[in-house]
Symmetry: C2
Subunit: 273 residues, 2 copies
C-alpha cells in the first residue's frame, strides 16, 4: 500500500462527490470546493482506507467513508475560522472561507459540507447504518470538543462564548477537548474504514482504540510543535510516546495489513509540521 496510490484514491473520490460549480448555487459549490481542495495532508481519509486493509478488506470499499471524513473535517475548519469563533483570516497560506466568501457564505458552505459528508458516507458498500451512526456520534463529539476549546481560550472570543455554553474549565477539560476536538474524527475515520472493509465488532473496537491514541498523540505533538501545550515539554513528550505505544498495541492481532497504520503512528513522533 503506497501512500501515493491511497492519496490518489482520496482525491479522485473527493472530485467525484463534490458538486460542480454551476447552476444558480454555483457560488456555494465553489466555496465548498475551495474549502476541501485547499491542500490538506488527508491524514483522516488515509486512516480510513488503511483501516479497511487492517481488517482484511479492500481499500476501495472505504473510499466513500474516506471522502466523507475529509469533507466533515474541512467543514469543522470552515466554521472554526469564523469571526465568532477563532476569527482566523488565513489557512494553509490562503484566505479562509469566510474571508473570501463572507460570513454567511462560510456558515452555509460549512453546513452544506456537513450534509454532503453523510450523503457520501451512505455510499459505503456495506454496514451503512453503523457507519452513519459512528459519523453522527463523532460529528456531535467534535462540536463538544470545539465548545471546550473555546473555553480554553484558544479562540479570540472564546472564553465568553464558551462560558455562555456553560463548559467548566479545569485540567480534565484539556483531555476532554483533545479527545473530542481531535481524536473523534480519527476514531470515526478508523471505525468507518473497518466497517466498510467488513471488520467484525472486535476489529472495529481495536481500530477505534488505535485512532483514539493516534489522535491524542497527534494533538500532543501539535502542542510540542507550537510550544503552547497544557503541560511542560518533557511531560508532553512522554504523553506522545505513551499514546503512540498504545496506538501500536491496539493494532496487534488484526487479520489484515497494518503496516500503513503502524508507519503512520510512528511518523507522528517527532514530525516537523
Amino acid at each position: 500500500m503506497e501512500r501515493e496510490r491511497l492519496i490518489a484514491l482520496v482525491e479522485a473520490t473527493l472530485d467525484e462527490v463534490m458538486p460542480r460549480p454551476d447552476g444558480p448555487a454555483a457560488g456555494l459549490f465553489e466555496a465548498m470546493r475551495y474549502a476541501v481542495g485547499a491542500g490538506g495532508k488527508r491524514i483522516r481519509p488515509l486512516v480510513c482506507l488503511a483501516s479497511s486493509a487492517a481488517v482484511g478488506g479492500d481499500v476501495e470499499d472505504a473510499r466513500y467513508p474516506a471522502a466523507a471524513i475529509e469533507i466533515l473535517h474541512n467543514y469543522t475548519l470552515v466554521h472554526d475560522d469564523l469571526p465568532a469563533m477563532d476569527n482566523d483570516v488565513e489557512r494553509r497560506g490562503k484566505p479562509t472561507v469566510w474571508k473570501k466568501f463572507g460570513e454567511a457564505g462560510a456558515i452555509l458552505a460549512g453546513d452544506a459540507l456537513l450534509a454532503l459528508a453523510y450523503q457520501v458516507a451512505a455510499k459505503s458498500p456495506r454496514n451503512v447504518a453503523e457507519i452513519v451512526g459512528v459519523l453522527g456520534e463523532m460529528g456531535v463529539g467534535v462540536v463538544m470538543g470545539q465548545v471546550g476549546d473555546l473555553e480554553l481560550g484558544n479562540g479570540e472570543r472564546g472564553t465568553a462564548a464558551a462560558k455562555a455554553m456553560a463548559v467548566e474549565p479545569g485540567n480534565g477539560e484539556v483531555e476532554f477537548v483533545y479527545r473530542h476536538k481531535t481524536a473523534d474524527l480519527f476514531i470515526a475515520a478508523a471505525k468507518m474504514g473497518a466497517l466498510a472493509g467488513g471488520g467484525d465488532e472486535a476489529a472495529v473496537g481495536k481500530l477505534g482504540e488505535f485512532a483514539l491514541n493516534l489522535g491524542l498523540a497527534f494533538q500532543y505533538e501539535d502542542d510540542l510543535l507550537d510550544g503552547d501545550g497544557a503541560w511542560p515539554a518533557d511531560e508532553t513528550r512522554r504523553l506522545v510516546d505513551e499514546s503512540t505505544a498504545a496506538a501500536l498495541a491496539a493494532l496487534e492481532g488484526l487479520p489484515g495489513d497494518v503496516s500503513f497504520l503502524c508507519g503512520l503512528a510512528r511518523s507522528l513522533v517527532g514530525r516537523k509540521a
Copy 2:
C-alpha cells in the same frame, strides 16, 4: 391515525434522542434542546410518519427519520437567525438561539443538531442507505435555498452575502428558492417515511411528488399570509390551488392509508398561521 397520537410519537422520540444536558458540554446540549423544543407545529415529522402509513407501513417504523427531519429543520432555523444571515432576535415568542447562547453557541448548536439528525435517521429499521442519501441530498438542497433566499433580500445582510456566493437573481430564482428552501425538507420527510415503511420505488417517487407540491403550496400560502409574495395575491392564490391539487393527485394509487396526508394538504389552503 389521530394527529395527537402522531405528535406524541414525535415528541417522545425527540426526547429519547436529544442529548441530556449534563457533563462538560451541558451548555451545548441545553442549546440544542432549546432549539428543538421551542414549540413548532412538527409538520415535517407528521408528513414523515404519515408517508410510512401511505405505503402500507407502520408509523412506528418512521419514528427516527421523523425525529431526524425535525432536528434538521430546527438546525436550519438556528443558523438562518444568525446575525450574518437574517439577524433575527426572536422566534416563536422567545429569544433566538444566538440571542440566548451567543453567536458561537448558535453556530455550534446548529452544527451538532445537523450531525445528530443523520445519526438519528440511521436508526431506521430498513433502507438506511437510501434514507441517509435522501437526507444528505436535501440537506445540501436546503442550503442552496438559503443562499438564494439571501440573494432575494429576505435577510438583512442578504444581498451582499449572496452576491459573494454568485447567485443570479431573476424570476426563476423565486421558484428555485421555494423548491429548495421549503420543499426540500418536505420531500426528505415524505421519502424517508416511505422508505422506512418499506415502500417500493414508485411509491417513494409519488410521495416525493406529493411533498414537493405540498411544500410549494405551504410557501405560497405563507406569502399570502405575510402579504409579501413575488406575485400578486390572486396569482399566488392560483398557485396555492394548483400545487394543492397536484399534491392530492400524487397520492392516488398508493397502497396504504393516505387520509392524513390528504387532510394535511387540504388544511394548508386558507390556513390562518
